[in-house]
Assembly symmetry: C2
Homo-oligomer: 336 residues x 2
DNA sequence: GTCGAGGTGGCAACCGGTTGCACGCCGCTG
DNA sequence: CAGCGGCGTGCAACCGGTTGCCACCTCGAC
């Protein structure tokens, strides 16, 4: 039983149906749709009329086979649950739609294995892949690059176009802000160990702290979720820091909540600073001070980079670095 | 230039390559992958070995052509920006992945035209479609149903399987809660006029209010966003209601913020009640009282309903009604 | 020894388009 | 009026798989 259809649905018209009804060759019908200027106006209009009457529309799958293009792009994120990716998804979807491409979304569940699996299933059937915060080993990424146009977000790999946020700038802004408030000992609440963003943020924060004469301690690696924030709060209290910079806003919000329950005022007893400025950072209480780049722009840029690779002469692999800015709200203040 | 590939990438092995290398017919290679039990163990293992050596993997597009199935499902939402859909997307993605299907995501931008356009592009290349809070005219939905397995979320149409939240129950819970606090005159802040959810919520709230002896006024139709909440606050103040039930949490949060800026305490001066319990409802200040169903479950159920239609004997069109529950937080209290 | 059943694998058509090449026709030039 | 170039269209191969049908082989039963 090929082509399982809805009971009662009539078979779709094909090029051959149209060709027969119009008294032309299938190639003519095909060209009317793919390269209309190749066909004379009278024939074209006639074919179009017949096609319209029959309700003919080219089948995208059948078109994809010989042409090799599905007009489809894939976006792989480590966790759809994380609001950080909402903006990325949104930006990517918008830009893809603008270029008349369809976005395929997959969730890697924070696991390199699941990511790999999805990739196996997807790679052949899309025209390009955006890997956001990939947990994949570098070798796998290298291999992937040879199969399909590839763009990385918040991750770097030699020769692969990428868009990354400027973590050095961001952490410098965060450290400067805390230093200006008078903090001397700050903690960094880390995210997943396999995350490139976490590594660069931690290094950047250390560097910035050193320049400013701050002591900076790493509080550990936490799951980047609100629940993960609980442990952050506990650890920060034990580590006797007066401020904590969290790997992301979720962790920061979770930490604030826990601190509140423990009777520690924010920012009175502890300042909390997040990263990414997700939806929610502004409406939580106290509103979260956070450092972020325009992530929707990151999504749009990633798609642009992907689309650029489809042109005959692919531009040199580029890395786009997104500027960050610090949004000061209520979760940071002077120590003590 | 068919099959535009990455410079330097080798052509993928095909069934014919494997067949030649293994000394068998292409049909045998095909069957080794699609119906292994049809092939004797020795041949199968030999073919598998050769295929492995050549790095052969069946091309999903080529498979889709004769089989008619792409193992792909589409989800259309009116606005990816709206956190309400995050949970829906997440649930749908998870369930699709579990069934080894890939989810295609499209954003209709709150417009029936854009929705229609996306549908045109997508319908042929996916095995089924989930339409969430569709703005499409009923006739279009009817027609779509004949083309592809279809499931509606928060919308009803004769003969189309759907999953909807029980708005009557939800609004009854909301009204009862407000009545028990002593409110007598409440406002309803409506969402998009073309929204089925908005219509049923409004009607349900009216009915519940009547039963409880409350006066209920409609404040108008607002864009279902935080910004839309500004107008809600102003209108509510003018309408002299002591509580407002908002079409969704975004509107409620926006209204609370505006009320705060106007110096009106929540819930002291005005109670605010939302719908959907989105991410953010709990962390905003004051935490939002809201009535909601499990939307991630809605996403999972929608996919299940879609998958069920693929079986030979499609079950009778079903409508799954999701129970709601009221989460009482800090945004509601007694009047005055 | 013959016949039949069951299992294995090959042939070739097919899914629905695209496209290189060739051919016929037209008008224009010399 | 022959020759030539260019345009519009058709023929047929092809993209990479799947599958109905048939041929062949083997083995067991009579």
């Amino acid at each position: 039983m090929p082509h399982p259809t809805i009971p009662g649905a009539r078979r779709r018209a094909t090029v051959r149906d149209v060709a027969a009804a119009a008294g032309v060759a299938t190639s003519t019908v095909s060209r009317v749709f793919s390269r209309p200027e190749r066909i004379s106006a009278p024939t074209r209009q006639h074919v179009l009329a017949v096609a319209g009457r029959l309700g003919y529309r080219p089948d995208p799958i059948a078109q994809a086979l010989p042409s090799g293009s599905t007009r489809t792009l894939a976006l792989l994120v480590p966790d759809i649950t994380n609001p950080f990716f909402f903006d990325l998804i949104r930006g990517a979807e918008r830009q893809a739609a603008a270029a008349e491409f369809t976005l395929v979304l997959a969730d890697a569940g924070e696991s390199a294995d699941a990511e790999s699996l999805h990739l196996d299933r997807l790679t052949r059937s899309v025209d390009g892949v955006v890997l956001a915060s990939s947990r994949l080993p570098g070798t796998r990424i290298e291999a992937l690059r040879l199969e399909r146009p590839l763009v990385l977000v918040n991750r770097k790999s030699a020769g692969v176009p990428a868009v990354v946020v400027d973590n050095h700038q961001g952490m410098a802004q965060a450290a400067a802000h805390l230093a200006s408030l008078g903090h001397e000992r700050v903690g960094y609440a880390g995210g997943p160990e396999s995350s490139w963003s976490d590594r660069t943020r931690w290094r950047a924060l250390q560097a910035a702290a050193r320049r400013l004469g701050l002591t900076c301690v790493r509080l550990g690696a936490f799951p980047p979720t609100i629940d993960g924030g609980t442990a952050v709060a506990e650890t920060a209290l034990v580590a006797r820091v007066s401020a904590v910079v969290a790997f992301n806003d979720l962790l920061a919000i979770g930490a604030m909540r826990r601190l509140g329950r423990r009777g520690v005022a924010v920012p009175g007893g502890m300042s909390v600073l997040g990263c990414d400025d997700i939806f929610g950072a502004e409406i939580c209480a106290p509103a979260l001070t956070t450092v972020a780049a325009d992530i929707e722009l990151a999504g749009r840029t990633a798609i642009d980079l992907l689309l650029a690779q489809r042109s005959a002469i692919p531009p040199p692999a580029r890395t786009i670095v997104l500027q960050t800015h610090l949004t000061i709200r209520q979760s940071t203040g002077g120590p003590r």
